[in-house]
Symmetry: D2
Subunit: 341 residues, 4 copies
């Protein structure tokens, strides 16, 4: 079995998860290098993952002749220079989202990727690889719901994590609730409607954790999109879901609709007790999307091996960023915003 030799940059929470998948769960990948400025992360790679090559400098890792590809799981602000470096070294790239912090940086990365058409550049919108979302897409392509014309997207983080998020100092730097939370939902809307929105109007509120207001952000936000092809998008993002991590997406078409996870069930067990029939829910995104992270990296390796286009490309990253900023602009201004690309 041909294996893609990969080096990973960034071994924080998500990077560590990717590294574990690359090391142990993905048949067509071999994790041969790791790069981090945090010594403990390199120790982890060496001792737990048996990674052979360890780097504290991204350029040096790219210079290794033993790598076919790199996985970039660093803060997005570093993505433009790291992408450039990797492409110049002839490496295929799996890049975590968000693609970049600004639309300008996204555009720069687009140009770089275009300059190396033979190198795969895949972006980490892993929901597209989730078995339930992939099934929904397949059913739609088979015609199960006719032509899709409306998407209702919901993404609410667990309330159990809200206070620690507020303590972390992350919120003021997050870019605001839409930039921070909505990119996956925006990507799914585009994917399912096969089109881009041309306008957005958004609103926000904070009811439970007033510190979101103090930190210049919102606890809950909602938006309504019109798409160029007549489609409509409804979006709800929030940070205080009491029952768990609630990601739900409904795609409505002319002949039916598909709803993904209206009950974000933890598993197939149903408890009947004094309260009634109780379905416990997933608690956070690693629990919900654990499998998707492995599938997306396996798909990346397959794309490299087979010379195929990745399912999620650089333009998907730029557009999610543009649309996210339009949501933010509407939220900040209280006005309807026309989205330009």
């Amino acid at each position: 079995m041909k294996k893609i030799r990969i080096g990973i940059a960034g071994l924080g929470r998500l990077g560590r998860s990717h590294a574990l998948n690359l090391a142990f769960k993905i048949p067509n990948a071999k994790l041969v290098a790791a790069c981090s400025v945090v010594p403990a992360e390199l120790d982890f790679a060496k001792n737990e993952l048996e990674v052979e090559e360890l780097y504290d400098d991204f350029a040096k890792m790219c210079a290794s002749p033993n790598l076919d590809a790199v996985a970039i799981v660093t803060p997005s602000v570093y993505h433009p220079e790291q992408v450039e470096c990797a492409l110049k070294a002839g490496k295929h790239i799996f890049c975590e989202k968000p693609l970049a912090v600004t639309v300008d940086d996204c555009k720069k990365i687009e140009k770089m990727a275009e300059a190396y058409p033979d190198l795969v550049f895949a972006l980490g919108f892993m929901r597209r690889f989730d078995p339930s979302y992939a099934y929904a897409k397949k059913k739609i392509e088979e015609g199960a719901i006719g032509k899709p014309y409306m998407v209702k997207a919901t993404g609410v983080d667990p309330d159990a994590d809200a206070e620690s998020l507020l303590d972390s100092g992350y919120v003021p730097k997050s870019g605001g609730i839409f930039i921070d939370m909505a990119s996956h939902d925006i990507d799914l809307m585009r994917w399912f409607l096969e089109d881009d929105p041309d306008s957005v109007y958004s609103v926000g509120t904070t009811v439970k954790h007033s510190r979101f207001t103090e930190q210049g952000d919102f606890e809950t936000a909602a938006a309504i999109f019109t798409f160029k092809n007549g489609g409509i998008g409804q979006l709800h993002v929030g940070r205080a879901s009491v029952h768990g991590y609630h990601i739900e997406t409904e795609i409505i078409g002319t002949e039916g609709s598909i709803r993904v996870s209206p009950v974000p069930a933890k598993n197939l067990a149903l408890l009947y007790d004094k309260t009634g029939a109780v379905q416990e829910c997933v608690r956070n995104f690693p629990e919900r999307f654990n499998e998707s992270y492995a599938i997306e990296l396996e798909a990346f390796c397959n794309a490299v091996l087979e010379g195929k286009k990745p399912l999620v490309n650089v333009y998907d990253g730029t557009k999610a960023t543009q649309i996210g900023y339009a949501c933010k602009e509407s939220l900040d201004s209280g006005k309807l915003v026309k989205i330009e690309y």
Copy 2:
């Protein structure tokens, strides 16, 4: 609109419910008489239901020329004589289940009913009129699941009522858990499989409320039936359902299956809270089958008006009794019992 003029005998808990339905909810019925040996019940009929004719003697009520039919909701031990009396007076009969206390009495009532073929004799297995069960039957008749060959029936009373049941003194007189609880399930099995069982083996246990043992009965029982046509029945009855009143029936056929109320939902509202996604359940049989009681009486009136056969007849009552006693015999003896009719 032609209305059937009805007199009701027995205004206990269930009789009262039937009387209210006849007085206020059934367009083709007019409740004109009530019979009870309990003065307060007659007061209720007079004051709350505006019933014109009040009797403390069943025979006198039957003698009234103003009645087309009688609803017999008295203890089953009185059914044989009351049925005879009503038939001789030319009244159509709606008779609550159980048809009678012994198989002999059931057979007597059969003979009487046969002697008056022009009078409708309907028995109160109201589940057949429940919209969900009626829908299941209709789908099966339309071929939705092919030929039915197995029924899995569950009927468990709410645990919330167990202690008051044990306090009531009813259990030792109930005939045992199968006679007391299983007749509806047995009737549904026969109805869906369109056949009669020829053998039964049953077992019982008591785990939570040891007083069921002290009172000579079981808290939970299960039985397995073979049917003459090759069908199989699985039955589970119990008295300690913590989440509410759990009646569930699965009918399995060659092309599919239908399950009625795997979650005995109280209504269409789903609560998401710290425990997960919670569906509250129905608490007792009046809540679950409230509508069915009205529908069965309306159907009885229609059968009378249109000269039709009732959906549930006297033989259904005899057979449910025979099968119930076979279950009891197996439970008492620990042996497989062949069922004779």
Copy 3:
């Protein structure tokens, strides 16, 4: 049992349903009069409902000394004069929604109702009486979801009825999709959030039945509301639900959420066949809300008997109309609309 004597005006589809309920299903009501300019409707009232007093003139019916109350189920354009007439005659009023065609007419009716504070004026937002919605409200009042701050409302009529609707000539006269369809959803939003919206932005599209465009209306529309207390409303109305009549409402609070009918189940039966596990759905509003119509009229009669305030009052009618027109204004103008009351 004290009964409210009622005369009904209007025996079209919905009026007929109300009349049947009043005649046969509501213990505390007695239908004594009917008014219609359609002779066949009066024949129906006389022959099927045994109504004693028949009128072709609303004022004459109001003059009858035998009536405590009137049920007005006529076209909304006639409501102001009929309400005035009934109030002057001292009759309690149950008035179908919409309260009136214009906000001015609503305000006129408000004034009239205020002039007769001892007469009950109840409006027909029957969803509030639906057992599932009433349960949701009760759970919320008990604190089950903390403080509600967001409502996501969906109301989509069955696609099976779309073409006949388009053939009927009704659409161009309907006031547009929001006026025609959204009043119940708007009322529920206000009821659950206990507040009024102060802004709305709405969009619409037509994808399946292009005749909606030809007739100057939309097939699908969506809106986003901000409420004065910080609440958010998301609304989706449509006319092409393939799986049946889809009314769904989610109320999100600080400690949980409640979702009413995410699957608009026809009943409690679940079919397992080649396609999977299939829950058949309700086909139309009479099937979904049949019970609610009876409950709201029984509640009206109780309010009259007990001298209580009705659950839905005249102001609820005015506000639903004002908000509906604001939705329409936004849809027509493409602009965010501030809602004034």
Copy 4:
């Protein structure tokens, strides 16, 4: 990370699945050897899995000093001699179920395992490792349903596979429907009730595929068990589930119950179309239990590494076999069977 070095014997359908898991999905395992008498299977191990040591003789593989453990996925008739050989060579053993073909052979293996108490002997009842079943067990251990006293188990293979099964010639050699199909359900009953059954009565029928009768077996069977501690078991196994692979288990306790997969959902997507709300179901056991197979092997490796007792031991295998034969005896004789151990 310490890894258990494993050799696998048998690379048929299930062996291949285990080998892929060991090679690519289980961090604490290293697949170093493979043994098969089928050359193509060894080619697969060499080329696809990069297995270093290849054998056509089980004893030779056991002689390899490079192995800590063996996974035995061969026909059960070979298990006694292979287990003996491996134990003598000092290897830990993961053995696929059924433990052996006869109770005598099971007892032999028990004795062998007892002679090597320091070697882990784990049996492949993988359902105990399924996240939903493991969750159910954990909730029960936490007290969520009080004391379990009844298990209702259902295991029905997909009808889509029935004809090819009948063509395969396997059925007459399968030992009958209970031996072939019920061992997992029997193991779950024992696990959840923490006890052994002391009697069983079983019945069978064939309705759809008459060839099951021709081949001396049944299409559907049901059994009822009493347990020594008063527990009751209901079992339904079959080979003609139209909607997919239906494994369902309900554990009923004094304070509630847990039902695992009443709807064997394929994923979290729900389709709404003309038929209603449709949940597609899993098609077969690899789809349903794919994850469980990997988890059980990872747990085996952990048990070896940590010197722990395996979750499923040799006695579980013997008892499932004894109980299965008791079911068969009852089915064949039509009599209640007392189970001796």
